[in-house]
Symmetry: C2
Subunit: 288 residues, 2 copies
């Protein structure tokens, strides 16, 4: 029998699954992200978590393995297979292992992920996405991964979500960005306007539209979201408007799906939690 | 004899020139931008300024004519001639006039300027730029104006400078953006990387480069500046790599000039203060 605790330990949240022979039999979720744990307290925090699951061994993934987490678990270079990740696990204490991140360097330009790799590999292992596919994980730093033969062949990160938050909180146009962000006319106008590859100008256009009364301020946030997500999607589908397997929550997934369809691609939704469980279980099996 | 005070009254600074028959014979500059003047105090503040120039009549330009300034002087639509602006002056009190801004609306998308129009028209009047030319005023909200027959035929605004400030102060990558921004290898790498029209990804790349040790953090600010200015310049010169008449201070002008040359254009520097004086004097002559 295989029994362990798979943990998705991110920056602001932590989700733990007690997994027995591949099936989740218990779990917990809380706000104990790495930002809420003082340096030096990770061993204690992990021991407490483990105790709540009767001392089962643990496999951790996410920012807990960053230089601001428990220990820096490093990166496995692309193309990254599940086998390579399982071989490179870092073990800070007995009975606990941490999954490394994945890096990519091309022509001196680099990219990194940490935590997303488990979902990506798991989506393929669980049959939620084909072994050769384009996967997208929207968010603060949106990830786009090209899977080849079930491995993470290459990937790109765009600071789409962080940019939205920056603009809303701190930009001149942020004062108008108070409305709901939903897939409607304003959002789709933003996606369409992303088509001219002139983001810095279109963002100032939000201010001009407000001053000149061309757009209701209530629509500004949705328009800017469309501009940013449209810019992200268009850059990724520029050479190949493909099927995109989307690992996202309902709201953000709906926005990305609309932008992908408008750009000529096809969006297919994947349950990201199921993908994580399948991925962490696969790594656990490989590492035993 | 023509004698008046031309005032460039912006958001954070104010510059006044006593102009006699087209020549500046006195002036002052201070930090009395509109943000430092309480609503209702503009008449008093203007009267004090005027008194220091022995009661000469005044012609004001800039944000003093916005809805956050003394009175909203409105906008003249493109194509905007000096004659149209002179006809549309707004006179809040006897002996004082305010120059309106310029607006442009195409296919429901708008743009606005306020203050820059005086420099643009003045550059042509003074012979610092041809009557048919592309002019650029870098800054928080960079303006690019196409002059035709000496009129402002069309223009575009990009939030280039504001975006740099937002990223430096508030983004995850901002922590690394502490180095000097100069025209060097890192800056030019940023301009070159702007060529793939993938700004949101290249910005995250600053984080990845830092984590993977691919770029010295001291170079991050210059690289991001190159990315943003390169993105701005490329969008503007995409269809026509033309001569660009640059109205900018030395430091920012050098950065834009480098990006313009790298994009296949030619940068020609224009004295923006001389352009303002010529422009405000021309408007004064037309309005008398």
């Amino acid at each position: 029998m295989s029994r362990f605790v798979g943990v998705d330990w991110g920056t602001t949240n932590r989700r733990a699954y007690l997994i027995e022979d591949g099936a989740v039999i218990a779990g917990e979720r809380d706000g104990t992200g790495i930002l809420s744990v003082a340096t030096g307290d990770f061993a204690c925090e992990a021991a407490a978590l483990r105790a709540r699951f009767n001392g089962a061994p643990m496999l951790l993934a996410g920012m807990v393995g960053s230089n601001k987490g428990w220990v820096d678990a490093g990166y496995v270079a692309c193309p990254a297979t599940a086998e390579a990740l399982a071989t490179a696990l870092v073990r800070p204490v007995d009975g606990v292992a941490i999954v490394p991140g994945v890096s990519r360097v091309v022509d001196g330009r680099g990219d990194v992920m940490r935590g997303e790799e488990v979902q990506l590999l798991g989506a393929v292992v669980a049959g939620l996405a084909p072994a050769d596919a384009l996967l997208c994980q929207p968010g603060t730093h949106a990830k786009w991964a090209r899977m080849t033969g079930g491995a993470i062949a290459e990937f790109a990160t765009a600071m789409t979500g962080e940019m939205f938050a920056l603009l809303q909180k701190h930009a001149l146009i942020g004062a108008a960005m108070t409305g709901d962000v939903v897939d409607g006319d304003a959002y789709r106008q933003g996606v369409a306007d992303a088509g001219d590859d002139d983001l810095l100008r279109r963002l100032f256009g939000v201010r001009a539209a407000s001053v000149l009364g061309l757009r209701d301020d209530a629509d500004a946030a949705a328009y800017v979201s469309g501009l940013l997500i449209g810019t992200d999607v268009r850059a990724r589908l520029r050479d190949d408007a493909a099927d995109v397997y989307l690992l996202a929550d309902e709201a953000l997934g709906a926005l990305y799906a609309a932008a992908i369809e408008m750009t000529g691609g096809r969006a297919l939704r994947v349950d990201s939690q199921a993908a994580f469980v399948a991925g962490i279980n696969h790594l656990w099996d490989l590492a035993r």
